[in-house]
């Protein structure tokens, strides 16, 4: 099965993440161990088995030409979904044994030509006296009342070069512990925003989850009643966000965004493992990729269930070696479900159009049915096209002009700067994905599904300047409604 219902009312998502993750979340609370329950603790220890791992869970990725600085691109990657803003000393740190990466493939090889990597360390001044994260009002990042801070280093890693440290030991904006403690979170986030050498800026912060959808739409594919849509399941929850704005030339192949305007982007998280080799174990080991995200909804609506773990572990350069993945793109399950439930005929297979959207980017040279030159690295003039491989990436043509009045349906509505040509905060990727899966093309929507999930924008509006993502919510979700 590709689609999973949301179990037990627990949402979790990856990108939109409706499905699979849901199971992980329940598991976190629920499916722990193969516990014995009997016997000496020492005789049969029951360890947790299937916990969720939200700290390293990629939820969404955005890549767009900055609307207010059109010579730059903004990349925003989110982690750690469903952060409840209220309810006590809640703090949602980044993991300190992880790499938080945004990867850029400018040649179409499925391998990163460039990686922006954030790593974190904790500064914990709480001691044993308190478990609270602040002992007074926090007006500034450096206020002594803030007892727990995360510092981060941002590196730029280019293939074949030594890593360059762009930001050393900067302070991340903390989780917002509430209006009384942090009366002006925007000020904290501004203080946390750092200029980059060579132009650009970055910030690590908590933010309102910008993804918007009705998670129940996937329940309803089973329930067969789209009239119940329209509730933004994610409204009120926060995420951790890493945002970076850089000149287009920093991303483009050979630094030339005119000749090589297309980049493929995906985010990954790696965690450091541990070596147990007998006799010389050290508590460290290499880093292992545990989460990956490019296009929204791919992990939910495209990747087959038995391949999700592999998908999260593999680099995009391996996608074309996964026949089950390619097969599912060419023959997706969602349209069949919709046909069964709503009687809307599924488009004929193989779906080479979807292959173009998800795996190659849209270009005449990609050989697919969408004969438009939009966002494949094959459009880059200086690359070696023999090295090009189909790979699941969020592809952005940086030369597409910024749209003055963006349309939430992006390319489908003739707004070629929107998803799937990169992704902006306001792009309604659930509705777009449903339409695309049903075979819609620009200007030709599938009317029966035109209402989509009935959620057309985020609960808290994104902003017009970097980092665009909204400040975190502060009210308990159950009250915020």
């Amino acid at each position: 099965m590709t689609l999973r219902r949301k179990p037990a009312g627990i949402g979790r998502r990856k990108s939109a993440a409706l499905l699979l993750t849901l199971s992980t979340a329940v598991a976190g609370a629920a499916l722990a161990g193969p516990g014995a329950g009997v016997g000496q603790a020492s005789s049969h220890r029951e360890a947790p088995l299937i916990a969720s791992d939200p700290q390293v869970d990629n939820t969404d990725l955005y890549a767009f030409s900055s609307p207010d600085k059109s010579d730059t691109v903004t990349l925003v990657a989110n982690w750690y979904p469903f952060q409840e803003p209220n309810g006590g000393p809640n703090f949602y740190p980044f993991a300190t044994d992880a790499h938080y990466d945004i990867n850029i493939d400018s040649q179409g090889t499925g391998k990163p030509d460039l990686t922006y990597r954030w790593t974190f360390r904790n500064e914990d001044r709480r001691g044993d006296k308190t478990f609270l994260y602040n002992n007074g009002v926090v007006n500034n990042l450096t206020d002594p009342t803030l007892l727990f801070r995360q510092h981060y280093t941002l590196q730029e890693i280019r293939a074949g070069h030594r890593p360059v440290t762009l930001v050393r030991d900067a302070i991340a904006a903390p989780s917002n512990v509430g209006k009384a403690s942090m009366p002006n979170y925007g000020r904290l986030r501004n203080q946390a925003t750092r200029r980059l050498p060579g132009g650009g800026q970055t910030v690590a912060s908590q933010a309102a989850d910008p993804f918007f959808l009705d998670l129940r739409i996937f329940d309803l594919l089973y329930g067969g009643n789209l009239s119940e849509t329209g509730h933004n399941t994610l409204n009120g929850y926060n995420v951790n966000t890493l945002a970076i704005q850089v000149p287009k030339s920093a991303l483009a192949y050979r630094g030339n965004a005119t000749r090589n305007p297309v980049v493929g982007v995906w985010s990954t998280t790696e965690r450091r493992t541990l070596q147990l080799s007998p006799g010389k174990a050290t508590p460290t080991g290499p880093y292992v990729q545990v989460s990956r995200l490019g296009n929204p909804l791919v992990n939910e609506a495209v990747v087959p269930a038995g391949l999700k773990n592999a998908f999260n572990a593999l680099p995009p350069s391996q996608d074309h070696n996964q026949p089950r993945l390619v097969g599912r793109v060419l023959d997706p399950e969602v349209p069949k479900l919709i046909q069964k439930i709503y009687g809307i005929p599924a488009p004929a297979t193989p779906r080479t159009d979807l292959q173009e959207i998800f795996l190659t980017g849209i270009a005449k040279a990609a050989g697919g049915p969408l004969a438009v030159d939009l966002n494949s690295q094959l459009l880059n003039k200086d690359i070696d096209k023999r090295r090009f491989v189909p790979a699941e990436e969020l592809r952005l043509n940086m030369s597409t002009p910024v749209t003055a009045d963006p349309n939430r349906l992006g390319v489908l509505a003739g707004d070629f700067q929107g998803f799937p040509n990169g992704r902006r905060m306001g792009d309604d990727v659930v509705d777009i994905a449903l339409q695309v899966l049903e075979g819609a093309t620009p200007g030709h929507l599938v009317q029966a599904l035109a209402a989509g999930d009935g959620v057309n924008g985020p609960g808290r509006p994104f902003t017009g300047t970097f980092p665009y993502i909204a400040l975190p919510f502060t009210d308990a979700v159950n009250q915020a409604g």
Partner: protein, 440 residues
């Protein structure tokens, strides 16, 4: 009291009433208040602490709507196992099995979640050979799934296949370094006597833990490591941190009691043990309380606890839990050593873990068969686990065989590892050692 409810349930089961529908089980069985509800958090808070009962209720509701949802049945089956672990209610195991089998019937192919659930259930029932098989099937379906390697490791550890168990942990670590794999790594390291590294692995597990229950788990086992290395005050601090993270983490209440007893705070220890047993009648807590009471000369109260323990063991057996190890350990020290030898010999035929080796060796000693006991006591030492009780057992066996030099070394070693390892046996170790050293 909770235990009476359990025993009543056992009686019902024994009367053949096991066929009730899987979904009919109310989420929170009668007895003490469900220990898992966290104050101030709604049930629907994703990612927040949820009571297992609430999770089960929601899964049940969803499955009433979508009875063909194979993944939902798999989750429900695993949730029952977890609920059973937290509440020590083995009547949930048959329900778990029904749910998991239903999942497998609905989706026979590629059902990693249900296969992993079956492995977890088999582990919970101490059917470690079956657990290994189920986990192997899950791995075959999805080699990138890391959870089955956890169940596989648990099974292999208990079966005594230590190299394979270690491989499974390493595989799990390399697929998904996380609290689930670091905690297992810690146990593997501890069993191999690498206590410092075991604590480091637990610290990493703690750093990655995102739920109160996982934080409590890591703090608790940091406490266990501290206690087992002779640091009861440090252990108590860890147990308190576990309870601060998750006040319902009863294992740390029992741990606190054990540490308090070691620190001489016996009244507080008895109180905390009784509170822990009232919340979750884990046989281990009952046994420890009984032994503490016995060490305090309160033999009548101790006998009451041992009676409860025997009833619980019958209940577990009635629900498919094979636990000859636990029962044998109890019989060796407090009941019939011959029976203990019978039970543990059967267990030894099933699996060769160091724990079974130790228990069988000790039972043989208690039955007067020290020559047969010694090779098993040495088997128990094969990984280098620095466990005071194991070493004490070996020392006593050696002493009985007249090997005073070895006995002195091992008894002193046991007390050096942890002077408070048992309220009954640590004083005995001291007495024996003094006798062996000639200062009576």
């Amino acid at each position: 009291m909770r235990r009476l409810a359990l025993i009543a349930t056992a009686a019902a089961l024994c009367a053949g009433l096991t066929g009730f529908a899987v979904l009919e089980h109310s989420a929170d069985p009668p007895g003490p208040p469900a220990p898992l509800s966290a104050p101030g958090r709604g049930d629907s808070v994703p990612g927040g602490p949820q009571s297992m009962g609430a999770v089960i209720t929601k899964l049940q509701a969803g499955l009433r709507q979508q009875p063909a949802d194979a993944a939902g049945w798999a989750q429900l089956g695993s949730a029952y196992v977890e609920q059973a672990r937290l509440t020590v209610d083995p009547t949930l195991y048959p329900k778990s099995e029904s749910a998991l089998r239903r999942s497998l019937a609905l989706q026979p192919q590629d059902n990693t979640a249900a296969l992993t659930g079956m492995a977890g259930l088999a582990n919970a029932r101490h059917q470690f050979g079956q657990a290994r098989e189920w986990a192997g099937k899950a791995v075959a379906v999805d080699p990138y799934a890391w959870a089955p390697y956890g169940a596989l490791n648990d099974a292999l550890t208990q079966l005594g296949d230590d190299p394979a168990a270690q491989d499974a942990v390493q595989h799990m670590l390399d697929l998904h370094p996380s609290t689930e794999s670091f905690t297992r790594a810690s146990y593997a390291l501890e069993l191999h006597g690498r206590t410092t590294e075991a604590a480091q692995a637990l610290q990493r597990a703690l750093d990655d833990a995102s739920s109160p229950a996982d934080v409590a788990f890591c703090q608790h086992y940091l406490g266990e490591l501290a206690f087992n290395t002779g640091h009861p005050q440090q252990a108590l601090d860890h147990y308190h941190r576990a309870l601060a993270a998750d006040p319902t983490y009863t294992a740390s209440l029992a741990g606190s009691a054990r540490a308090e007893a070691a620190l001489g705070q016996t009244d507080r220890a008895v109180t905390d043990y009784r509170a822990a047993v009232a919340r979750v009648p884990q046989p281990q807590y009952v046994l420890e309380l009984g032994e503490l009471l016995q060490s305090l000369g309160r033999d009548g109260e101790a006998r009451t606890e041992y009676g409860v323990l025997r009833a619980e063991q019958e209940l577990f057996a009635a629900n498919g839990v094979v636990d000859d190890l636990n029962l044998g350990q109890y019989q060796a020290d407090h009941g019939d050593p011959q029976l203990a030898v019978t039970l543990l010999t059967a267990e030894w035929h099933r699996r060769h873990s160091v724990l079974v080796a130790d228990a069988l060796g000790w039972a043989l000693h208690r039955a007067g068969r020290d020559a047969a006991a010694l090779p098993l006591a040495r088997q128990a030492d094969r990984l280098g686990w620095r466990d005071a009780l194991l070493r004490y057992h070996r020392g006593v066996i050696e002493q009985s065989l007249g090997d005073d030099a070895s006995a002195r070394t091992d008894l002193a070693g046991a007390l050096a590892a942890n002077p408070h390892f048992s309220p009954l046996h640590a004083p005995d170790a001291r007495t024996r050692l003094a006798r062996l050293q000639g200062h009576r």
